[in-house]
Amino acid sequence: MRDAIRARAVLGLLLLASITLVLLDVRGSGAVSGVRGLTAAVVGPVEQAVTALTAPFTAMSRSAMSFGDKAVREQEAANQLNSLASNPGVSTQVARQAAELEQVLKVAGVAGYQVIPARVVAYGSGQSFSGEVTIDAGSRDGLATDMSVVTGDGLVGRIVAVAPSTSVVQLITNGESVVGARMLDSGQAGALSGVGQAGQAVLRLLDPTAAIKEGDKVVSFGSPNARPYAGGLPLGTVTSIRGDAGQADREALITPAASMTALDVVGVVVVAPRTQPRTATASAQASPSLGATP
């Protein structure tokens, strides 16, 4: 009986402590961010090591889990053929990462961005729909918060926290993410918000009467000095439209250009070009020949 009372008292104290922590964090206490940075410095390297050790195993499982997903299977088959044709000794994993890196560097080169390559080492838990990933580059590599993270396919997100050797990236599909956007064809401006699901985001145009249709491409609007978001990067494609033209709450569902569930090699934009590239990267992707001759 005494044990039960003691346990209840302990739980009560812990709940009070939790509420205190939530309040401290919401108010932006410096102590909390200090502890966060310290933990990241300790846990980050461990996560990097474990990810590197288990990479072949997790890659195998991912491909087994995507069985039946035709697009993914075709992509994997194409990757395998490519790697076999060029060098039979190179494993598929390494070949895929090399291809992703080349794509990142090519797209960044066309737009005049300088990027630092990094690998995704940990995903946030899917149970809390966090939409955040950890990458294996940090302040020692010259990264800082509010830098854009890209893949060869398009914008991935921005850096929200930096530790010496790791950083946390908020994906554009995160429920708290909002990115300035522009329709590639019409130039109409709007805002792309995440909804907390990996394969989806919602676009609201400033002008509710502007023409928009399925299949339209959306690129990032761009901020000064490319922070937090670099301009002209592909964001995604319109898949469906809710509401009619002129309706104030009309919104378009967007499928992100970069696959948020298969992130591996990414690039962090550290130096912006002297002029805004606007839609340079998107057009480079539309016609591969342009990208090949930068």
Binding site: A7, L21, L24, R36, R62, M65, S125
Partner: protein
């Protein structure tokens, strides 16, 4: 059951290992639905062996780790509160030796579903995120199934280690 140094070290090691496995391996397997919540299963296993009071302390500490270690940038204290309550409830379940029975596995699965809901609700209260409520049922269900399966392995393992830690040192 009383705490001693080997037990505390064992608890810290198992919670930390579970966290690393969850964020680096389980989350990258591409399993359908939610990521299996191994940290929660380990916390529940410890709570069932140690009782509600000690269990709640372990749950709180594990929750703080989940809240502050990368890639988490959500509000500190949310998972801590939710895990503490889950461990407190789990601490009232008496654990027998051997393979866990249906009652115990069911408790783990139910707690997992409850924790998923509690985390989403607390995040919508404290955080500013908008959540896909339509994805919640599938996330709850898959999370509960994974938690039940994981408990078949980790409940006997953790409780065995936990009992062993005190018998070896002769404190019992």
């Amino acid at each position: 059951m009383r705490m001693n140094l080997p037990r505390v070290l064992l608890i810290i090691a198992s919670v930390f290992t579970a966290f690393i496995l969850q964020s680096c391996v389980l989350s990258r397997l591409g399993l359908p639905g939610a990521t299996p919540n191994l940290v929660l299963v380990v916390v529940i296993a410890i709570a069932m062996a140690a009782g509600p009071g000690s269990g709640a302390i372990v749950g709180f500490s594990a929750g703080v780790l989940v809240d502050i270690a990368p890639p988490a940038t959500g509000s500190l204290g949310q998972s801590a509160a939710v895990f503490a309550v889950a461990a407190y409830i789990a601490g009232h379940v008496q654990l027998e030796r051997g393979l866990p029975d249906l009652r115990v596995v069911g408790t783990v699965a139910a707690l997992s579903a409850g924790v998923t809901v509690a985390l989403v609700v607390s995040d919508s209260l404290v955080g500013s995120g908008q959540f896909p409520w339509s994805a919640l049922p599938s996330s709850m269900l898959s999370g509960a199934v994974y938690a039940g399966l994981l408990s078949l392995i980790f409940l006997p393992a953790i409780s065995g280690l936990y009992r062993g830690a005190i018998e070896e040192t002769g404190f019992a």
